[in-house]
Symmetry: C2
């Protein structure tokens, strides 16, 4: 079973890395770019496990290790 | 218009960051985790632009700046 976890900075948190990429894109001609935010995409390959178990475990993994929930939000999808 | 760009290491490229997170997850009890790969999720807010233009521009942005196509692959979706 494959899962994709998305970890992004919360809206209220400044994202200097995203801002830098946004400015760089503007500079090389992409003037329609208004805002850029950078997050992580974590692809996890899970062994024999039910979808229900996977959901519970992924939530725990995000809370414990994958996301810093003070400044980041997460979501995931299971394929 | 909002776009999400996903940049991940190519399958043939080692991903030590992903391996470290995989081992850490195994260590704290998630023994079903078999493989982890880490990529970037780039959320781009685009101004007034058609979907067709956005597609062309996003492909260019990925090739020029967002992805290192020697070692990374990319995909994107426009909302």
């Amino acid at each position: 079973m494959k899962a994709k976890v998305y970890v992004t900075p919360k809206k209220s948190i400044a994202d200097p890395q995203g801002n830098a990429i946004g400015r760089a894109l503007n500079k090389i001609g992409y003037d329609k770019v208004e805002d850029v935010r950078i997050g992580k995409l974590i692809e996890i390959e899970l062994g024999q496990i039910t979808k229900e178990e996977a959901e519970v475990q992924l939530k725990e993994m995000c809370e414990k290790l994958l996301a810093n929930t003070v400044i980041e939000q997460y979501s995931f999808e299971i394929e």
